[in-house]
């Protein structure tokens, strides 16, 4: 999985590309979030548009990222989850906790 970073104002947008599943992809996502927090980048928008699959490890990574950003008094939100990702986020009840947007500018404005 590839992770591209870009900024929109104070918000860092992470464009994920590839499956967020157990192993390397989930680990590199965790690592990226750790680095951003260490660099005081605490407003994160995770773009899931190009993430076809998320498994339970990927869910774990999202939860961990959300709680560590929250503990650092930042915010983590999701952008455009794919159909399968949205399904899993719905079942696991995470959509009620992780703010999720379909429109990027609306998402950035919400921080």
């Amino acid at each position: 999985m590839q992770i591209q970073q870009r900024s929109s104002g104070n918000v860092t947008i992470l464009d994920l590309n590839g499956n967020l599943t157990i192993g390397r992809s989930e680990e590199s996502f965790r690592e990226t979030v750790r680095e951003l927090l260490a660099a005081e980048r605490k407003l994160l928008l995770v773009n899931l548009a190009e993430v076809p699959m998320v498994d339970s490890s990927g869910i774990g990574a999202l939860i961990k990222a959300f709680t560590s950003v929250r503990d650092a008094e930042g915010k983590l939100k999701l952008l455009r989850p794919s159909r399968l990702a949205r399904q899993l986020l719905t079942i696991t009840g995470l959509l009620s906790i992780l703010e999720t947007y379909e429109d990027e500018s609306a998402a950035v404005a919400s921080f």
């Binding site: 339970s56 490890s57 939860i63 961990k64 709680t67 079942i91 696991t92 906790i97």
Partner: protein, 556 residues
């Protein structure tokens, strides 16, 4: 102690050696620590001992499997007499005879007096015979050691055996065996002298020049008089040690390629060195000895490798035993449930490994209702199973304490957030069915259970609550519905709906819903069997990817 008695040990090549019984307890067995090591499967590791008590020798069996024999009589403890024949277990490769020196000396005087004088040529013959016997002894020892490698030895046993044999074959005073560690450096594994004593402290001093040359250049080094060796003569280590004879053989691991025939060596890898040395020149190391030593090193390396594999195999077996026990414990945690009058229930959990992260429970409540729980811990295997067991226990304790469903789940979430590893969580469906048909439930991030009404309508049971153990601020609130006679609820984990067939398709929610809807006339147990059967048929022999758990509830 008077002059000690001896054991005369003759191997099947007719080569004999004599071992003095110069200590209070002389041990015999398969392990290298024994004073007499007999390498045979029918010899126990610590088989027998010869004890010297009150000026008398006794053979004492140490609870061996195959017994100890004196003159073909099986004995537990037996006083030994001059010329007694000893047999250890079923070992027929060695003849062991007990010789009491004091008695033998008397006999020898008699023999010497009666034997004729030897001529010059007869003495020469004797010397040649002795030298031939020596070579034969080396060869015999080599064959013996090679055979010993086939027995079930620990890696340490093998290493000792190699060093002892190398010392014996070269007549050296000391032997060392070093193996490469994970950093690529040589590490001492065995350091022994010719009496099989372990060397300590300063005794470890040796020629590092020779060892390094052998190890780095992957070749045998043999030096019969270190004073004549230009390089070594200059070396402080060798001079101060006053070493004369040194032999050092690299231990190589040969890896065969499967695609080539067995003689094609793909890669040679030096895993260590075998080193022997002496202070005296008398025991010069011949080319024959060197070749034998090299063969020994080759066989030893092969043997080490197979012993290592065998131990890995044993460890795997041990782990398997433990996992089987864990599985039994987990199965025992599954509820034994008396079917109540107002509904029937069938449940089953099939872990994809020995133990799983799925769990389910059915608990009769003091208030008259029944609690159902089906959970799925993220991850698989033992870690998941431990958390599953903890969650199940917490649920039981809280329901037994009389808490209502909403309180139980909120409290379980708090416990899990506090107690469980940061990124483990649980999806859980938990419900309470009252005798009057009231069905209260909370779905904490779990796959949506299927409710099939008698008129064929289906509902999916959700409370849109987040999974457990992730957020301390999460709130859980029960919902309720009413179940009428004939209504069916199927609670399951994603192992059912995400089962994948050979074409990579998932079993899927829709297939499960229509399957359950079409099975409405069946009993709970039959529905369970049908769903599991369909999943197995769907995946047709592919390995099960995830734990599969199912509870089927049908109102009577």
């Amino acid at each position: 102690m008077q002059k000690p008695a001896q054991l005369k040990v003759t191997n099947r090549f007719g080569v004999e050696k004599r071992l003095p019984l110069g200590k209070p307890v002389f041990t015999i067995g398969r392990k290298a620590e024994n004073d007499l090591q007999l390498l045979s499967d029918s010899v126990s590791r610590q088989h027998a001992e010869i004890a010297y008590q009150d000026e008398t020798y006794y053979l004492i069996d140490r609870g061996s499997k195959r017994g100890s024999y004196v003159n073909d009589q099986r004995v537990e403890r037996c006083q030994l007499q001059h010329l007694d024949q000893i047999r250890i277990g079923g070992d027929d490769h060695h003849q062991i005879q007990f010789l009491d020196e004091t008695v033998e000396q008397a006999a020898a005087i008699f023999r010497t007096n009666s034997s004729p004088r030897l001529s010059q040529s007869q003495w020469a013959d004797r010397a040649r015979a002795a030298s031939a016997n020596e070579e034969l002894q080396k060869l015999a020892r080599f064959v013996e050691v090679n055979q010993a490698f086939k027995f079930s030895l620990t890696p340490d046993d093998v290493l000792c055996l190699i060093v002892d044999a190398a010392i014996e074959m070269t007549q050296a005073e000391r032997g060392f065996l070093m193996l490469r560690n994970e950093h690529g450096d040589l590490e001492f594994k065995v350091a022994r002298d010719r009496d099989r004593n372990w060397l300590v402290g300063n005794d470890f001093a040796m020629s590092h020049t020779v060892v390094e040359e052998s190890f780095k250049q992957n070749r045998s080094v043999i030096i019969n008089d270190s004073r004549e060796h230009a390089l070594l003569a200059a070396r402080q280590s060798v001079r101060s040690l006053d070493l004369r004879s040194i032999a050092c053989i690299p231990l190589r691991r040969f890896q065969m390629s499967e695609h080539m025939d067995a003689t094609t060596v793909l890669k040679r890898d030096v895993i260590g060195v075998l080193y022997v040395d002496s202070h005296v020149i008398s025991g010069t190391i011949s080319q024959t000895s060197l070749r034998l030593l090299e063969s020994l090193a080759f066989e030893a390396t092969k043997s080490l490798e197979s012993v290592r594999l065998m131990h890995e195999e044993q460890e795997k077996k041990q782990l398997e035993v433990e996992l089987n026990m864990a599985r039994e414990v987990q199965v025992a945690l599954s509820p034994v449930f008396r079917q109540p009058a107002h509904f029937e229930v069938a449940a089953q959990s099939i872990p994809s490994r020995y133990v799983g992260g799925d769990f389910y429970d059915l608990m009769p409540l003091a208030a008259g209702g029944t609690a159902f729980a089906l959970g799925d811990v993220s991850g698989k295997g033992i870690a998941a199973a431990l958390l599953a067991a903890m969650a199940q226990g917490a649920l039981q304790a809280q329901f037994a304490g009389g808490l209502g469903l909403t309180e139980v789940i909120n409290s379980l979430n708090r416990v899990l957030v506090q107690r469980s590893a940061a990124d483990r969580f649980i999806t859980l469906f938990c419900a309470v069915l009252d005798p009057d048909g009231r069905f209260a439930y909370i779905n904490a991030g779990h796959n949506l259970p299927i409710l099939v009404r008698t008129d064929g309508r289906t509902e999916l049971l959700t409370t849109k609550s987040v999974l457990l153990g992730a957020f301390d601020f999460a709130k859980y609130q029960e919902r309720e519905t009413r179940l009428a006679p004939g209504d069916i609820v199927v609670i399951y984990t994603d192992g059912v709906t995400e089962a994948v067939n050979a074409a990579g398709e998932m079993f899927g929610d829709d297939r499960l819903v229509s399957l359950v809807a079409a099975s409405a006339s069946l009993s709970a147990d039959e529905i369970k069997g049908r769903v599991l059967g369909e999943v197995v048929a769907f995946t047709s022999g592919l390995p099960q990817g995830d734990d599969i758990t199912l509870i089927v509830l049908k109102m009577s």
